[in-house]
Symmetry: C2
Subunit: 428 residues, 2 copies
């Protein structure tokens, strides 16, 4: 099948060339943005918000076209709702950009500084990463969120949303670029990859000359593709197989509320709880109570033999304990001890968020120290793991890796540092 293969190669090269060109332009813009003043960057953001609202009719029309095409293609109501914009959602988008302008600029912060015995003065200062690439799915508001956070932190944003949202994203990115131009900064500070082929995604993951950090915001398939193809530095916004452990000493009334909130308040998000562990000492009392409350809220339960003997539920397989349902379903296990709870969590967790309900100081200390996850919560819902709820003012994602950033990521996580050394002729 020679001809077919060479056709693919040619298409790939063309896609790769286009992405290389976008990368070059992002890099050039990033040099300007890195030294832009806070006032300039804020002016660009405010102008972008204004133009976004001025262009509401065009943006909503583009979005309407995206939604119609998606509906014709049989998109489910849930994703279709996430794709859809209306005047209120556009207002919220503009308000989000203005809120980012109000956040303090992380760039230029002196993180530390000291003087060496030979008189050298060393400072570590916060600087932008450079070019931040973000691959995301069909919510068009990510385009403005990601662009504004990158801009505020002095980075050039190279954005790639889904094909289903392409017309919407083009209209939004164009408005933001117009805002940037108006403030005198380079419009290539925000670029949208409009080739939404698989090849272009892979080319983006391998733009080692131009991309300083790639953040995938999507499901397991995207993360898997990153693992296979990415050669640029990556921060994974990963899945959340979050656990709630109800300790022997827990306040069981409070624990029912915590479990219910963690599981049902918004089951489709990464910080919702997926798995419930109950200490054997309180399992007889707690499981029937929490089980009834969960079932009443529409949750399907699956458990191990010890859990099933205390409340009627389906059988949980090993796969169930490892699964992020993102739905009204929860796996349940009874554990012998806090050691068994910690071991279970460290075995099955995705490292996002785990919670302990306890009144015992030693249990709280052990759980927080020995559980190897980005966020460990004592006596509060797992749903608090979130940039806004942490007080960061905005969030670009939640890292489940350990390098660079771990947990909710705000503006600060879009920066790196640089050492400045000041001397007067010192030699080695």
């Amino acid at each position: 099948m020679e001809p077919e293969q060479s056709t693919i190669t040619v298409r790939w090269m063309a896609g790769g060339e286009h992405i290389q060109d976008l990368g070059r332009r992002s890099r050039a813009a990033s040099r300007r943005l890195a030294t832009a003043s806070t006032a300039q960057k804020d002016a660009a953001l405010l102008a972008a918000a204004e133009i976004l609202l001025e262009r509401a009719p065009e943006i909503l029309a583009a979005n309407e076209a995206d939604c119609e095409a998606a509906a014709t293609d049989g998109m489910e109501p849930g994703p279709l709702d996430r794709l859809r914009l209306d005047p209120q959602r556009l207002d919220a988008m503009a308000a989000g950009i203005r809120r980012v302008a109000d956040l303090s600029d992380p760039v230029g912060e002196v993180l530390e500084g000291w003087r060496r015995p030979n008189g050298l003065e060393i400072q570590r200062i916060r600087v932008p990463l450079g070019v931040v690439a973000i691959i995301y799915e069909n919510r068009p508001n990510v385009t403005s969120d990601a662009a504004s956070l990158c801009l505020k932190s002095g980075n050039a944003a190279l954005l790639r949303g889904s094909g289903t949202a392409l017309a919407s994203n083009r209209a939004i990115a164009s408005a933001i670029r117009a805002g940037i131009t108006k403030s005198g900064l380079p419009e290539d500070g925000v670029q949208l990859v409009d080739d939404v082929s698989h090849e272009s995604a892979v080319a983006m993951m391998q733009l080692t000359d131009y991309v300083d950090c790639l953040i995938p915001r999507g499901g397991a398939a995207l993360v898997q593709a990153m693992r296979e193809h990415a050669t640029v530095p990556v921060v994974i916004d990963g899945d959340g197989n979050c656990h709630v452990y109800v300790d022997a000493s827990a306040d069981l009334v409070e624990a029912v509320d915590l479990v219910l909130n963690a599981k049902t308040q918004r089951p489709g998000v990464c910080n919702a709880a997926e798995s419930l562990l109950v200490h054997r000492a309180v399992a007889d009392e707690f499981l029937p109570r929490v089980g009834a409350a969960l079932v009443e809220s529409g949750v399907e339960l699956v458990g191990d033999a010890d859990a099933r003997s205390r409340f009627e539920m389906g059988v949980a397989t090993d796969d169930d304990f490892a699964r992020e349902y993102l739905d009204l379903k929860m796996s349940v296990a009874v554990v012998e001890s806090i050691d068994a709870a910690i071991e279970h969590v460290n075995r099955y967790s995705s490292g996002h968020t785990e919670m302990i309900a306890t009144r015992d100081l030693e249990a709280a200390r052990r759980f927080t120290h020995e559980v190897d996850s980005g966020t460990v919560i004592v006596n509060a819902s797992t749903r608090f793991t979130d940039g806004e709820r942490f007080g960061f003012g905005a969030e670009i994602g939640i890292s489940t890796q350990k390098l660079h950033a771990r947990g909710p990521m705000g503006l600060r996580e879009l920066t790196t540092s640089k050492y400045l050394v000041w001397g007067d002729g010192q030699v080695v």
Copy 2:
């Protein structure tokens, strides 16, 4: 060629299985090390230093065997010297371990903390990365340096040196493991990969279930192999194409000393200067002076036409400007302005260290802000970019990437952070 292929597959699987097993054991050990007290870790380090000296005869005999085999294989004198141990070098190794024990423990540091309006208390604390893998070349002292830094920071170390140093590394790792056991910590806290095949290196680069951070310490070929094969998180200890820029306002007498020191004090290391940029305004005066001094020190110069017209030297190609010579050779260019100098540096640099010689505040400010490298130095030798010279007490490498760590890496860069959230029943 079916049979041959399947043989390769079987060998690969066997290598892969072995590495997977090492990974599992490192992970298990890392759980214990993460909660070990500073006193326990220091006791392990001091015991390791003691046993290393007790076993000097065995270690030196093993090293002698390595050196003989390497000499027979035709190893060059330089690498052979780096491979060789003697009683003094073994003493230095033990002293290095004791110095690491004296450093303060980074684990447990509360990096920040605040209270939210709803009463939630959030803390970000410093914790070990977990399992740190290090691939390095033929210097056996890296085995003890890397092991002790990982141990002190609460990480399990998975080490892979070169095949030429295998007997030496086995003897050193065995002594350190004995020290760890003596202190009651798990000996698998330090493991040496004794399969030095290419396959085992690739398997190590893909141990995603067990390795939290892989640090390659080696040349361009190793870095390239990492880029191709690594699926685990990586911190690149990369090459240093370091620049010295002599500005129009520089103190030219001081600048000659700085250039000489940066180039010739130890030309084979990553923080030695490789390229000299001279502002046109001082080129007529400075180039003959610095050229004569460099040539007298045995440096071969290659330059652009403007440099060659002022001092006799060879022709520098584009490749020369991009090259890290690690030798007594230097590329030279004359630049029109500080803008041209910054552009040249950002184009050719590997992002390690750049220096400006200047008396002009505005030039210093622009160079430090606009040059996109991990360390930017004003009026001091590039050779200062080093963990010891920065005052970190030890160094695991120098990162040329922007994610996680940038510049010299000490104990702190072997850690990550974790959010702890303390509540009393808060729900969303």
